[in-house]
Symmetry: C2
Subunit: 468 residues, 2 copies
């Protein structure tokens, strides 16, 4: 072990091999503060070559390694387990933007770049990098790729997978694969890129990527629509897509209880309506012409929905400030829920056409299993993806509630399965859902996944205990 650490120090400099508890603490606990693992050391290489050297050292000494980006994941995918025999390999120092090519509409970036920084760099050349999610101020693109992150832009731009044209990866043997050509079309063999994307660091370590850029829309306009039911939200989605096509770049559903929590815990925020409604939809339109043009489209669309009785009330943002205020309502839900106390999260998806029925049926099943529970349901309706979270009944202690977590997970996930859905839409499996997935994935798929793991990481050192 001393040999191994000495070799690491020689490879990347002693200052970047952290072993003191005070230095490593931030790397060992997950973002929600629910789990703290143990590690031999935290290694902070500066570039892909140093990553490759460290992986070779790990292979030689049979040391498991846990790749880590911004450590903002929600499924314990980026923290080590309790054995203490692994190293955390932090990619944060790999934070260079290697190239920006506005004509090719691409940007070549290292894994440790923070997402928000990439959005800003794209904007600096009048382009859009559309990946956007709550943790964008601290998550890294390497983590986004490794978990195939979703977010609010998926409706129009797809998941992180769809935003990537190529990767640089350090394999489990410590070799570097560089596929950073930035091509829109390349049919020359197996799609290794998409195998590493979403593999949560269990097949290799992503060190850089070419990501897609898009033209910046001339105007973005936001509206908040009040409705009675998720089924009506679904109808509105269809009408909005028929009218706006790909200009519809956001469609987020939020229940009244979600926004009640926001207004309770963030008193500076308030709903722009005279009274409450059961459901709300936040729409975003990205227009290539002008704000006026976008406004006309929204007025027609929402005007019709109000006439039809589909919508009960609506507000179209009159200014950028109001638009930001509407998005803040949506973005504050997770934090408001955390302020309210412990809760049980489910990041699920079902076919879009079944989402209203799913909510009706599953709400009722959860109430049977845990009477009085309060549903904090919100999310990306246009992607069939809900954050279907459960807060305890008023007056029930956190510990008593969390003791029921297994039962409630089972009720929700079994229902998701019956509706042909997924128990992890955008967060991944990590260590948290690794056992759970065995119940829902077919034996043949699991066997193929294990065969691929064995083929690419025969020593089983890459992020052990995650995914599989």
């Amino acid at each position: 072990m001393t040999d191994f650490l000495a070799a690491c120090r020689a490879a990347i400099g002693a200052a970047h091999v952290l072993t003191d508890a005070a230095d490593t603490a931030g790397y060992l606990t997950d973002q929600r503060g629910r789990y703290t693992g143990r590690a031999l050391a935290v290694l902070r290489p500066a570039d892909a070559a140093e990553v490759a050297t460290l992986v070779q050292l790990c292979a030689r000494h049979a040391i498991p390694l846990v790749p880590q980006g911004g450590n903002t994941g929600l499924v314990l995918g980026s923290v080590p387990d309790q054995q203490g025999n692994a190293v955390v390999l932090s990619l944060r120092r790999l934070n260079r933007i290697r190239a920006v090519d506005p004509v090719n509409n691409t940007m070549t970036v290292e894994a440790g770049c923070v997402l928000q920084h990439l959005q800003e760099q794209a904007a600096a050349v009048e382009r859009l990098f559309p990946l956007s999610l709550a943790a964008e101020g601290s998550c890294t693109i390497g983590g986004n790729l490794s978990t195939n992150a979703g977010g609010t832009g998926v409706l129009r731009y797809g998941n992180t997978r769809e935003l990537c044209l190529g990767l640089e990866v350090v394999t489990a043997e410590g070799e570097i694969i560089s596929s950073l050509k930035g091509l829109r079309k390349d049919n020359t063999g197996y799609d290794l890129r998409d195998l590493f994307i979403g593999a949560e660091g269990t097949l290799g370590i992503i060190t850089a990527a070419v990501v897609k850029l898009f033209p910046q829309p001339r105007a973005q306009l936001t509206a908040l629509v009040a409705l009675q039911t998720p089924a009506q939200a679904l109808q509105l989605l269809q009408q909005a897509q028929a009218r706006c096509g790909s200009a519809l770049t956001g469609f987020e559903l939020m229940s009244d209880f979600c926004l009640q929590l926001v207004c309770k815990h963030f008193p500076d925020q308030r709903l722009p309506f005279a009274h409450a409604h059961p459901q709300y939809v936040l729409l975003e339109l990205s227009d290539n012409e002008s704000e006026d043009h976008a406004r006309t489209i929204f007025e027609t669309l929402i005007g019709q929905a109000l006439e039809q009785g589909l919508a009960q009330d609506a507000v179209i943002a009159a200014s950028l400030a109001q638009s930001r205020a509407l998005w803040r309502l949506r973005e504050s839900i997770s934090m408001a829920q955390a302020h309210e106390g412990k809760n049980i999260k489910h990041d699920i998806s079902v076919p879009i056409s079944r989402i209203a029925e799913f909510m009706e049926v599953t709400d009722s099943l959860v109430q049977q299993a845990a009477p009085g529970c309060r549903m904090v349901s919100f999310g990306h309706l246009g992607d069939g993806n809900l954050h279907y979270n459960v807060s305890p009944p008023v007056g029930v202690a956190d510990a008593d509630f969390l003791a029921r977590q297994g039962d409630i997970n089972r009720v929700v996930h079994d229902s998701v399965d019956r509706f042909g859905g997924s128990i992890s839409a955008e967060h991944g499996l990590g260590a948290l859902k690794r056992e759970e997935i065995l119940r829902y994935k077919s034996p043949v798929e699991l066997r193929l996944m294990r065969a691929i793991k064995q083929a690419l990481d025969p020593q089983q050192l890459m992020n052990p205990g995650k995914v599989l």
Copy 2:
């Protein structure tokens, strides 16, 4: 062998096990008529269960199998080799549309469905299935998926890979994986889907898929713009993308010589300009409002290009008939080139920002290698993808010209490689480019590809001699 064929007959009915030369001929020769392979038999199963049974029989008797859809591929990926020990497994009888869900914007289709039929079925529910390519009247979606086909809609909608939400696959062991949930988001383990897509049947057999549908645009408008150089076409592309965003659904470059060939071999077609220009771009705009709206956008965009001297002349289609006539010019190039005589095809891509420089440099290198050659360069400029084809000098015999194929391939592919491009943008590797790719792909990538092949098809029976 008799045992094997008897078992096949028992499994799928004697009428669907073809062994007579007259019956099998159409399955053994490639689309361009350049290669005829040999096979034990052609098997025509009716559904995924029969495919699974046949694959199990092949595994048991160690019989290699060549999956085949519409057999329209251009790289000898769907025909057997000369050994005669393989069977062709035709998927054409798997031609049911299992489900259409306009709310989920998905369609569940079997591998043998002809692409044009899927476009029509989508239109019947007022949706768009945007995959579109020259062979759409006879190619099958299974083949499109197995080769990750491109086509004219990639600029806006992506390759076939981006249009697929899930697959049903028969593995090399004859088991069925069914992932036909139709989810937009599902992060529960390795991305097996994208491994089978583009694998050209070497890892398993795609028997069904869920494909994405899109809202139908209200209007589509086409324009043809005459320019001096590919560099100007690139400038026009940027201006068009900045103005139209994702409404720009087509951007095809064609050299004057391409359209000369079309007008020569299809005398009913003609250019809508008074005289010839060196290059032409076909633009397509898909509008969510109206044809008038689209026309205004095109008039502004193209008007500016004419004023700037970027464009020399232009015509915006005044009717659907004229729009079709413009597209026919583009779509007739391949056929016109075939009528002109033998030619050497290159399906290549480079970063979009380098395409003009690539053409200038490579045109000159080809002229040095084969003076007098005539370049038939056209393709999907917006994707960086050119069909960079070479016709012989006037008066040179086909056989003499084809004898130079290896040299000319080398000149073009080496240049593609220097420009950071791909030697197979949308056609795949098949048997044709299997050796060639060894020169351009890194040893690490080739090693990983072989490891995956070994893991998923340890008997090496799935489409042997293709890709790897």
